[in-house]
């Protein structure tokens, strides 16, 4: 056991012990621990295996930068993989498993890869491709199995996820000292403030570094909590900064892997729209790059200090801390004060007196001009380190149980970069800081490259005031507090990107731990021509993975610059893109899963259909009654019964879903004229006309009916599917193309319920229901309408037919829909009225040869559908010029035909290709297609399947036998081409 829990200290609650399991073994920790800190406290250093070489790995960081300690947590549907142990708050009963190891974490068979690492450098699989693409197929399976992270949960996730929008004047990302200072000064100035932080406690490292900081943070956070316009959000990661200052965050509300009570969200996705954003996102420590720097027990110096200070866990008793900057002294001091024996190696030969004085009173042994060259150890942790000068000579081995390094700090500029902001290289810091910005976001504290505690706090305080004042808030926030922490940044950082490797030492020096990319890989990539940082990333995978190179990028880019003899500023850095850290996909989906995936639209008569045993089909967002089952019928029996009843008696169908548009204005007639390709000018008041609408390119857009209510008032219907598109089409032309027309259009789909009453007895039924109205052919002829009342309710009766039978549509204001339906049903009992659904509706219109969605597919012209004669010759209309194109008027274009199976019984499949004999090759492939089946259904009149389709020179082929080929269904069916009007071609039924 090389690490342990300290007797005191830390932010944990020692009165709240928690039990948990890791790889099946029981451990305990405390409330306030993370999984990583609790494992370390129990002496567990081995926490994972690396992605490619399966090298043993331990925890490396203490926060969201963690590249190594990835865990699978929970079981069953709650199980989540690839979670960073440093970000999992411990809870009672937590169950964690290691990943990417078999049969066990300690004895992983695939660790053999490590022995073969010389043959598996970065990009080795690309080189396999170079030989033979086919050869790749053989090793690919094994490579993919051997490499990887955790396995995704294949069970359906039934967790609740929520979305939430909010607004504020000032959003502060990061609740360390500078962030809290910014939030407080902005709040005191009168601004509304949201403060988010990814950790469970707001306050950052100030909570455990110094008592003066801790006290001020507690006071400041308490004051912030009292402001009504301040929102404090912990466990909330700001993962993306988008246009107009929309910052996307995810807040973890339910512990990963833990069962949740009903309706408790697992996570909440926040969309925060802020007028100003302050990035107090801190900085990420870089490791030093040396041989075997990935052994369990090797970690960032700051992480070691954080485990001691925040969690009361000492990561080792005898530690080597190597640094090239002043902050390593802070970390070493914290570790030494916690009881560790610390040997501090500073690569710099000279440092300030003040810095050296900061170690006084501790038992830290300082060696200048020294660094760590190699770590020695295995799955059990570090046992020794080889240390020496930067020349790599005169090295010596020292025993230790932990090696910690600090290679400098990289400001966390991710959110700034998301907005397109530039990164600027600061030579004095050896780091990129936020440069030119494109949005109202500003960095403070370490995120801006300000590492002195007091200066960082001051920067936050000042920017909080500036943001508030920019927005017109002028209340004085007072002066920034003085915490009395003197700056020790008195000796410049020494650029140190890769330590020399002692002779006889085996093992890679890793730059990107998660992707097993080493310093040698960077050099090799450069040698092979991958000279851009972006190419380096793709070739070596450096900077990819769940950590996105948080600890790796700068080292990697610096090594590339070194290899090219260029400055780091010249080489640049890769582009940071959202998300900042991995997110659960559930948070993106939010509540929109299953039945709630999209809103459901119901007709006014929906409940009546449910009561009548209807099955529903989704038509856009509508739920439409598809068929009504009776007496245990199956679907086909129901459909046939309903369709036959329309042909023989009378039945009623809910057509409320049809789009309905009100058109009014002095220029309404002119507008309607231009909108439809057929003549509308002669449409008389009280009459209805079928209309065909084209797109600009001449293809049919939609069809429907137009009823003229008044001189300047029209009542249009559209297809269900195109209702919104047609309205948008009309509004576009009124707003943009013909703004001079005085016309207003509006959707009235929801205002009116509609029901089609169809069948030879429909007139009798309506006459019985409406004894005060003359329903004869004279009183209400085909394509006429009238307004009247039924049972005291207003209705509009339109004499139109989609089924080809004598038929009417009864429309009524929506709230009266159920009453009118029931009134007609009541009267209909004497006529054996029954409801019919969309399946029967489709079957009937196909028999009749009426076109619908299958035919109006955007590829057909009026002539293609046999409606060419409708097109007006003497007026202009949308699509007229497009329709004149030569290709659209050719006689041999596919034209609408009826199709009947030659054997009179086989089922024709919609989508089949129509072809001649001998035009179907191997695997059913159609070598020459003459057309296609657009829609098909069972015909009750013909007692077999019938179809509509388009075939070249359509009418001329009537009487021919072709083949309907559907390779996907392995069908090659002889069919007869007939007239599309497969019943009542003269229209005697509907006109009767």
């Amino acid at each position: 056991m090389t690490s342990f829990r300290l007797d005191q200290g830390g932010l944990i609650d020692r009165n709240a012990p928690l039990n948990f399991h890791f790889d099946g073994k029981a451990y305990s920790g405390f409330q306030g621990d993370t999984l990583a800190s609790a494992l370390l406290a129990n002496g567990v250093q081995l926490m994972g295996r690396s992605f490619k070489y399966h090298r043993p790995r331990g925890v490396y960081g203490s926060g969201s930068e963690e590249p190594n300690a990835l865990m699978t947590v929970g079981k069953g549907q709650e199980q989540e993989s690839n979670l960073r142990a440093t970000m999992i708050d411990l809870y009672e009963g937590l169950e964690a498993k290691s990943q990417n190891a078999w049969p066990s974490l300690k004895t992983d068979v695939m660790a053999v890869n490590s022995l073969m690492s010389a043959f598996l450098p970065a990009g080795f699989y690309y080189k396999i491709f170079l030989g033979s693409a086919n050869f790749w197929l053989l090793p690919e399976y094994f490579i993919r199995r051997a490499a990887g992270l955790g396995r995704p949960n294949e069970l359906a996730n039934e967790d609740d996820f929520q979305h939430h929008f909010t607004h504020c004047d000032v959003l502060v990302v990061g609740a360390g000292l500078s962030g809290v200072a910014a939030a407080l000064s902005a709040a005191r100035s009168g601004a509304s403030v949201t403060l988010v932080d990814e950790h469970d406690k707001l306050g950052g490292q100030g909570l455990w570094r110094e008592s003066s900081q801790r006290e001020w943070l507690h006071e400041a956070l308490a004051e912030l909590a009292d402001y009504p316009k301040v929102r404090l959000m912990s466990r909330t990661t700001a993962w993306g900064h988008y246009d107009d200052n929309m910052v996307a965050c995810v807040q973890i509300e339910g512990d990963p892997g833990a069962p949740l009570p009903p309706h408790q969200p697992r996570a909440r996705a926040w969309h925060i729209r802020a007028k100003r954003v302050i990035y107090a996102t801190g900085a990420i420590e870089r490791p030093l790059v040396f041989a075997n720097n990935d052994r369990p027990g090797v970690m960032l110096a700051h992480a070691g200090a954080a485990f001691a200070g925040k969690f009361g866990v000492l990561v080792g008793k005898s530690l080597v801390v190597a640094t090239n900057n002043d902050d390593g002294y802070h970390s070493a001091r914290i570790l030494a004060d916690a009881g560790a024996s610390v040997q501090l190696l500073d690569a710099r030969v000279e440092v300030s007196e003040a810095l050296q004085d900061s170690l006084k009173g501790s038992n830290i042994e300082l060696s200048l001009g020294q660094t760590v060259l190699s770590a020695k150890g295995g799955t059990g942790g570090v046992t020794a380190a080889e240390i020496g000068g930067l020349d790599g000579r005169s090295s010596r081995m020292v025993n230790c149980d932990g090696v910690l390094s600090s290679g400098g700090w990289s400001p966390s500029i991710h959110l700034h970069s998301h907005t397109g902001g530039k990164a600027e290289w600061r030579e004095d810091l050896q780091a990129f800081v936020p440069g030119k910005r494109l949005q109202e976001g500003v960095a403070v504290g370490a995120a801006a490259g300000i590492f002195s505690t007091q200066e960082a706090l001051n920067s936050g305080w000042q920017q909080g005031i500036c943001a508030a004042q920019d927005l017109g808030h002028s209340i004085s926030a007072g002066q920034a507090p003085t915490l009395g922490s003197p700056s020790l940044d008195t000796t410049p950082i020494l650029p140190l990107w890769s330590n020399p490797k002692p002779k006889k030492v085996k093992g890679k020096a890793f730059v990107d731990f998660q992707n097993d990319a080493g310093a040698s890989d960077v050099v090799m990539a450069n040698q092979e021509g991958y000279r851009s940082v972006e190419h380096l990333k793709r070739y070596t995978t450096l900077g990819m993975g769940t950590d996105q190179g948080k600890t790796a990028n700068i080292n990697g880019h610096a090594l590339l610059a070194q290899a090219q003899g260029r400055a780091i500023a010249e080489v640049g850095t890769t582009t940071f893109r959202p998300p900042f850290t991995p997110l659960t996909l559930g948070a993106f989906g939010g509540p929109h899963v299953g039945e709630a995936f999209a809103p459901v639209r119901r007709t006014p008569m929906h409940a009546l259909h449910e009561a009548s045993g209807a099955s529903f089909v989704e038509a856009g967002m509508w739920k439409r009654a598809e068929w009504y089952s009776r007496d245990g019928e199956d679907m086909w029996a129901s459909i046939k019964r309903e369709a036959l009843h329309v042909r023989r008696a009378v039945a009623m169908c809910d057509v409320s879903t049809l789009g309905k548009i009100d058109v009014q204005g002095p220029d309404a007639q002119e507008f309607i004229q231009r909108l439809y390709c057929n003549g509308m000018k002669t449409l008389a008041i009280g009459k209805v006309r079928y209309g065909l609408m084209l797109r600009d390119d001449g293809f049919v857009f939609d069809d429907g009916t137009v009823a003229r209510l008044d001189e300047n008032h029209y009542y249009m219907t559209t297809t269900t599917a195109n209702a919104a598109a047609v309205l948008a089409h009309m509004e576009y032309h009124l707003d943009v193309v013909w703004p001079e027309l005085k016309v207003r259009v509006a959707s009235i789909t929801d205002q009116w319920a509609g029901m089609a009453v169809a069948g030879p007895r429909s007139r009798d039924l309506l006459q019985a229901a409406l004894p005060h109205v003359d329903m004869s052919n004279h009183g209400l002829p085909f394509m006429g309408f009238l307004d009247t009342e039924l049972a005291g309710l207003p209705i509009r009766v339109l004499r139109i037919s989609f089924s080809g039978e004598l038929a009417y549509e009864v429309h009524t204001p929506a709230r009266f829909g159920p009453q009118v339906w029931q009134a007609l049903s009541e009267t209909g009992k004497d006529f054996d009225l029954m409801p019919y659904g969309t399946e029967a509706l489709g079957a009937l219109r196909i028999e009749k040869g009426h076109v619908a969605g299958g035919e109006l597919d955007g590829r057909t012209t009026p002539a293609d559908m046999g409606l060419g004669k409708m097109v007006a010759k003497k007026k202009d209309f949308i699509g007229r010029l497009g329709l004149l194109r030569e290709g659209l008027s050719r006689e041999d274009r596919p034209r609408l035909v009826g199709v009947i199976p030659a054997d009179g019984r086989s089922r024709i499949i919609a989508g089949s290709q129509l072809t001649e004999e001998g035009q179907v090759g191997g695997f059913g492939k159609v070598t020459k297609s003459l057309g296609w089946i657009s829609s098909a259904h069972f015909s009750v009149e013909h007692d077999c399947f019938v179809a509509l389709g388009f075939v070249e020179s359509g009418a001329l082929r009537q009487g021919q036998t072709l083949f309907a080929a559907s390779p996907l269904d392995d069908q090659h069916l002889p069919v007869n081409i007939v007239s599309p009007h497969m019943i009542d071609p003269q229209g005697e039924r509907q006109n009767g």
Partner: protein
């Protein structure tokens, strides 16, 4: 036939509307809802005439006016809704018609096309903000917003500090209530 109407009464909307501590949802009746829309360039003239119904108060973009159990709700550029919970569609139409010159504007009955939901309680904005991006901190009494709630186009009306009205197309009313119910569940 013009009596105040509620989808809940007609069985078109669940009678059991969701509620939780800090949130209550009720349906308000709509007796009449007329949409009046001006032609291009006629918006000001129409607004001036509509002011006559509201003691000379001029309708403004994004605002509502109320008087005599009527409300005038801005519903888009040069377009308003005149609605009432008690005055019938016919009565309200008769009051509106003289103000609407056929050369300036058109009027359209949408009394059946919308459902009005009344949201009260301090939690209502938390629940609405789950799917509505509106900044409710700046949504003050008298304000009107045409926005989206759960992908659905709605019109929101800030009645007073404690009450918000939500108008949604009737066919989506149940879907919206289901969403609000789900959003309220965590506060039970």
């Amino acid at each position: 036939m013009d009596k105040p109407f509620r989808l809940t009464d007609a069985g078109l909307l669940s009678k059991l509307l969701p509620s939780c501590p800090g949130f209550e949802l009720h349906e308000r009746p709509i007796a009449a809802l007329w949409q009046v829309a001006a032609f291009k360039g006629c918006g000001s003239a129409l607004a001036g005439k509509l002011a006559g119904l509201f003691d000379g108060q001029t309708p403004q973009v994004g605002k509502t006016l109320a008087a005599d159990d009527m409300a005038l709700i801005w519903s888009g550029p040069d377009q308003w809704w005149l609605t009432s919970e008690t005055q019938s569609q016919a009565v309200l139409g008769e009051r509106l018609a003289p103000l609407v010159s056929p050369d300036e504007a058109v009027m359209l009955d949408l009394s059946h096309a919308r459902c009005c939901l009344r949201l009260t309680g301090e939690r209502r904005f938390d629940i609405l903000n789950k799917s509505c991006s509106l900044d409710f901190l700046s949504f003050q009494p008298g304000d009107v917003a045409m926005t989206l709630v759960e992908q659905l186009a709605v019109t929101l009306l800030a009645v007073d500090q404690d009450t918000t009205y939500l108008y949604v197309t009737s066919s989506f009313a149940q879907a919206l209530v289901d969403y609000l119910d789900h959003g309220a569940a965590e506060y039970h």
